[in-house]
């Protein structure tokens, strides 16, 4: 085969062009087709009158099977092509769906929400940064910011302190497994469920009736007056809601700290003991500095969690009695008041708050050798 240089390079460009077209097709068209088939199936299922269990069962098989089929069919199609093509296209079968979905559900919405936040309440008029001015000046937003700060400061601090305390204690106890497992258990409970649990503890009844809420029963037994803890004494009623977060998150902190503490070399602790350090000194001078990285990670995670707290407030007070937080204000502005501009601006504020963590995460992967 005699081929001149220009023709072969033209061919290369041609092939490059075709492969890229096909890549785009694979990454977008194929998920799109799957989506349309799934979607039509669901419209059908939604409108059908079949028994509940059957509809749910079919839905599960349909959904999971559909996604699996997507991978098998596209891969089979590509593998029919010549080897070179397979090499160029196959990676996009593997990563394409994930990329498209993450882009559609997270990356693109961030930009779209930002654009919506620059418009007025029904997105009909451009208002510039006016919504952001409202976010940082309106009274109800000030209350939400104050309360969210309380959630972050008190919630994160106590979760971390209790988590650390329990991790250290459990490490020295014979009941380590049992203790950790029980303290960790609230992690499995939804915030809605946890709110019911704690609402029962804070339940209040007429002073002449027996108190069925544990807290008021204790208060009455000690000679006090029963109180409506989550409604009165603002802003301290927020504390009673924050306790729920602490109850939920301490287990998480404890598990991570426990693993970190077990990673401290025994020789290090031994050496300190030989030098005459007591247990308290060992804790503050050796353990804490050694696991500082973990403490920062756990704190950051709980701070982000507390910043977005929503379920607990909605279920416990519905945002009344001065307990509104940022995430509930986002919901209220967007879905109750239909003020799309302001709601979006609040969401953007939440996003901006996590950008430092995002940058930190990106720095981390740059240091890893794989990239």
């Amino acid at each position: 085969m005699e081929q001149t240089e220009p023709r072969s390079s033209a061919r290369r460009v041609w092939r490059w062009f075709i492969t890229n077209i096909l890549r785009i097709l694979l990454a977008i068209i194929v998920p799109l087709i799957t989506f349309i088939v799934l979607w039509q199936g669901f419209i059908f299922l939604r409108d059908s009158e079949a028994p509940k269990v059957l509809v749910a069962g079919v839905a599960i098989v349909w959904g999971v099977g559909g996604v699996a089929a997507l991978f098998f069919v596209t891969n089979w199609l590509v593998e029919q092509l010549p080897d070179v093509w397979v090499r160029h296209l196959q990676p996009y079968i593997f990563v394409g769906p994930a990329i498209v979905i993450i882009f559609w559900y997270l990356a693109l919405p961030a930009i779209r929400t930002f654009i919506i936040s620059l418009y007025n309440r029904d997105s009909s008029q451009f208002v510039g940064l006016q919504n952001y001015v409202a976010v940082f000046t309106e009274r109800f937003m000030m209350e939400a910011f104050r309360n969210t700060m309380l959630w972050i400061l008190i919630g994160a601090t106590f979760s971390v302190v209790f988590g650390l305390l329990i991790a250290v204690l459990a490490d020295r106890s014979r009941f380590e497994k049992l203790a950790k497992s029980l303290i960790f258990m609230p992690m499995a409970i939804s915030m809605v469920g946890a709110s019911v649990i704690w609402k029962f503890i804070y339940a209040v009844r007429d002073p002449s009736d027996p108190q069925i809420g544990l807290l008021n029963a204790i208060v009455v037994a000690l000679g006090g007056e029963p109180k409506a803890w989550i409604q009165l004494v603002q802003p301290w009623n927020n504390l009673f809601l924050i306790i729920i977060l602490i109850w939920l998150q301490t287990g998480f902190a404890m598990v991570i700290f426990s693993a970190a503490i077990k990673g401290i070399p025994a020789e290090l602790l031994e050496a300190a003991r030989v030098d005459g350090a007591n247990e308290v000194q060992i804790f503050f001078k050796i353990m804490i500095p050694y696991i500082m990285g973990t403490i920062i990670t756990v704190t950051t995670t709980i701070v982000i969690f507390a910043m977005k707290i929503f379920d607990i407030v909605i279920v416990m007070t519905g945002g009344q009695f001065g307990t509104e937080v940022i995430a509930t204000q986002f919901y209220r502005q967007y879905f109750t008041n239909r003020d799309f501009g302001l709601g979006s601006a609040i969401a953007i504020v939440l996003l901006v708050a996590v950008i430092p963590v995002m940058i930190y995460n990106l720095r981390q992967i740059r240091n890893e050798e794989a990239f």
């Binding site: 996604v67 593997f94 993450i102 919405p109 209790f162 992690m187 070399p265």
Partner: protein
């Protein structure tokens, strides 16, 4: 992790004592609603759940009509107790430890003599669960003696919906993420780095940011109120973490496995299905539990994308609704809360090891 071994667990009563107190503090709330969910509505309204333990309580010894010839507006003497009507209504304790109490109004009341006795309230029932699950009408005895007819809740339906949401919303992201993780770890292609940066950048993005635009898309596609809408949302929000965790795991598998498989002529797809997936089971399981608990316990995403359609509502939505509409029906709320917790608790206790492993691998989620 095995570096530091506590050579011998020295028993310190102080350590065990403090730990025991903390455990008590952490478990009592759950125990409280668990016990209450088995108590009758009458018992729940008239006593705290701790009344199931032996305790001293005023118990009625005798009951009698109001003695004749009393000056009801002045000071009266009944059964050795002296006081006005108002004091008798509250109950007057006599020196010998009995309590005389006037039940009812001035004219048509009766007198009860009570004594402090050891009792336990052990009138347990399954009716609360029947009532929240089946949704028929039930008769409930009230503290004042009357009987109220009460409409039950249909949580069994919501339970099925929760399953129908949570199972695919767990499997689909894992499947997609596993493919993507393999692609990032073992394949070289243009855009690899850029795409991976996007995955990592999206790890901590708050999902609030996505609700508004996605809801608009769903409205255009007529998707609101379908399971698909919620699955895809959970898939989208869970994918960055899933991809990142699975990438870390698959990337750490020994390279020579892949090379020898390639020499044998296996394709990427075959290697992935036959080799990588089975090897990744621990990581897949870790993430599966994580995601399942997350989706099952989620309230916000369901609230927004399922909305007010009652026949597709999941458990968390129904429980939250019950707190609003039947806030004082503790016999229903406690049973309902427990129905919503039972599956996650089983998953949690039976697969705790994997769950912890998943948490340790990475715990930031948007």
């Amino acid at each position: 992790m095995a570096k530091h071994k506590v050579q011998k667990k020295q028993t310190s009563w102080l350590v065990d004592g403090i730990l025991f107190l903390l455990i008590l503090l952490w478990t009592i709330p759950t125990i409280g609603i668990f016990i209450s969910s088995f108590r009758t509505a009458y018992d729940i309204q008239t006593s705290g759940w701790w009344a199931i333990f032996p305790h001293r309580e005023w118990t009625v010894v005798t009951e009698m009509p109001i003695p004749e010839g009393l000056d009801k507006n002045g000071v009266m003497e009944i059964e050795g107790a002296k006081g006005t009507f108002k004091e008798f209504r509250e109950g007057i304790t006599t020196p010998d430890g009995r309590r005389v109490i006037w039940i009812g109004n001035k004219r048509l009341g009766k007198i009860q003599i009570q004594e402090q006795r050891w009792t336990m309230r052990t009138d347990f029932t399954l009716q609360n669960y029947q009532e929240v699950l089946v949704g028929k009408e039930y008769e409930i005895r009230q503290p004042d003696g009357s009987v109220k007819i009460e409409q039950g809740e249909d949580l069994s339906n919501a339970f099925i919906n929760s399953l129908a949401v949570a199972i695919p919303a767990t499997v689909i992201p894992i499947l997609i993420a596993a493919f993507a993780a393999y692609g990032f770890a073992w394949m070289r292609f243009p855009g690899r780095k850029l795409f991976f940066i996007m995955v990592v950048a999206m790890l901590v993005v708050p999902l609030q940011i996505a609700l508004v635009p996605i809801l608009r898309d769903y409205t255009k596609l007529d998707l609101n109120g379908t399971f698909l809408a919620v699955w895809l949302a959970h898939t989208g929000f869970g994918l960055p973490l899933a991809t990142y965790l699975l990438f870390n795991y698959i990337n750490g598998l020994p390279r020579d496995i892949l090379e020898s498989a390639f020499i044998d002529g296996a394709s990427h797809f075959t290697i992935f299905i036959r080799l990588i997936l089975p090897l990744s089971v621990p990581a897949l399981a870790s993430f599966a539990i994580f995601q399942f608990l997350w989706v099952w316990n989620d309230y916000l995403v369901a609230l927004i994308f399922i909305g007010a359609k009652p026949d597709v509502q999941v458990l968390t939505m129904r429980i939250a609704e019950m707190v609003g509409s039947r806030g004082n029906d503790w016999h229903l709320l406690t049973a309902g809360a427990f129905v919503s917790m039972i599956l996650p608790l089983i998953v949690f206790f039976s697969l705790q090891r994997y769950f912890v492993r998943g948490l340790l691998a990475g715990s930031v989620k948007g």
